[in-house]
Amino acid sequence: MNSVLPDLVVSLVFIGYAMVMLLSFGGLLTWVERKQSAVMADRVGANRAYIRIPFTNIKLVWLGLFHGMADGLKMLLKENFKPKTHDAVGYFLAPFVVFTPVLLVFAVVPFGGTVIPGQLIPALAGWFGDRAYPMQIANLDAGLLVVFAFSSLGIIGAMLAGWASDNKFSLLGGLRAGSQMISYELVMGLTVLGLILVYGTVNLGDIVRQQSGTIGGVLPAWGIFYQPVAAFLFLTAAIAENKRIPFDLPEAESELIAGYFTEYSAMKLGLFMFSEFIQIAVVGALFATLFLGGYNLPFMTDAGFSLPGGTEIALSQAVRVPLQLVTFLGKVALMCVIQIQIRWTLPRFRYDQMLGLSWKMLLPLSLANLAVTVVWMWLAGGGQ
């Protein structure tokens, strides 16, 4: 048989799954954010948008789920207003430069274990043979480096939008976004460095597989138990990267109207908003992969469960693959909820406090964490 075609089909299926997952997370999170903040504040939340079944008077409200659709429709149908003096190329490109890297980061995140299509669906056995595919769009050895390479592209988009809008508020917002994201990216990189030392690899698939063991036979060998400080610092820095409250200084509406996307309207504004929501999901996915054992439940490997008591439960592929997919989605959803909870709890920092937190608190902490990890690894390795 042709040797490239099955690979291509599997890749396309994975890409389709990842795209659908991210976009539906982006859409659903608008609803989750509205409802969660409402429940936190003793309110009901958005519940007016409805779809009427044609020719009847039945209105489907579904707890306000259609508000996201109404938002999208509004964004698409609105006038695409441009300021007279904008820089045409930069103004056009900026939303895409912000949006694309967020999606690209997910390319190296594994969302499931190894799948062998020939065994999963016997009808395809002749075509696929016994090829095995890790459920991941790109199984790159440089996984984590790719994540940082792409996620730092977002700065360019934010600054480009701020510059090309030719508006003082936008420019200030772009400057703030630039300095903020650079500061926190440093922290993020340094915290993950400790994790790389522990796992000895930057391949995200390997990192997840190493987390299926146990620490001392009881605790799952998750990154959050190896590196609790790093987990905290990573989450903080990731929220700051995402430019949401309490770190939403680039778009502080009481000071800068909407910051770097003040002059954007219609779906271009929608892209900025949407990328923010997708980034919540991507941060959740990264956190789950690095610190929460990725797609595996505790004590679970691709072969099945090996519980602390010594019990082994073998899982067939038909059970394991859906279980891993659902586990991953559940972990990402949990992280999204935690991020939204933080967003609706904390007030915004002052700008000097925000940069001070990064350079005076988080950076020394991450360096200390790294130093402790190095010494620990050196001692664990027998002082060599």
């Binding site: 969660q36 409402a38 429940v39 936190m40 504040a41 003793d42 309110r43 009901v44 519940n47 909870q341 933080i342 609706w344 709890t345 904390l346 937190l357």
Partner: protein, 247 residues
Amino acid sequence: VNPMVKDRVAPSSAGVTGVSFGDNERLAAQKGGAAGQGAVPAAAPAKARPPVRYARKQYWNEPEMTLWEKAYLPEVLKGLAITTGIFLRNMGKWLTGRKGAVTTYYPEERRADFAPRNRGKHILTQRPDGSPQCIACNMCATVCPAKVIEIESGFDPNDPAHPKYPVRFEIDYSRCVFCGMCVEACPEDAIRMQDDVPNLVSDDRYNMWMTMDEMLTWNPQQDVAKPYPPKPVPLVLGESVKRGRGQ
């Protein structure tokens, strides 16, 4: 003695003793006799201004934070615990079929503590025959601070008790401030206010005009302040009137 200090003292002491500022030099010479050379003319430019320090202003009620609070993280966790607790409590209520919010789903739902004397939509009271009690005297339109009431009066020769009646009585709810002064001004108890404004919202400002037939929905047969038909009331003269007539 620092000459700068003296220089600064001079105007204030001048103010106290009632000497004008022009006398600074004389005053400084008098006071600075002992200091001798120390007295300098007030007009001399200040040589060394203290350097401006761009420090954040300290307020008298600046919160004193303990080390625990300055660490920030414990307080963050405390705040998260509070919001998460409220979230879980409300979510538990919703999931068990109870209401987990203090807001109401107006107008489908109405608060139980909605005040009965709340001022809302206007009502034109009616006589037992269904005609509006209004006599188109225009007092409500005159007193209205928002100028939202428009009345067009008509003449009815068949009703000698109330020959004037409203042909058109309209209120612009987009401008009405619900102050209730029209109700107070009405001599006939012809206009009242309901406790809320149902279906006030509109896409179009011209739909915000409420016409007379929309306000004539309520017919309080027994609840009018004036009995109908009106009884002849004997003329009673007040004390002041009588006194005025006697002298």
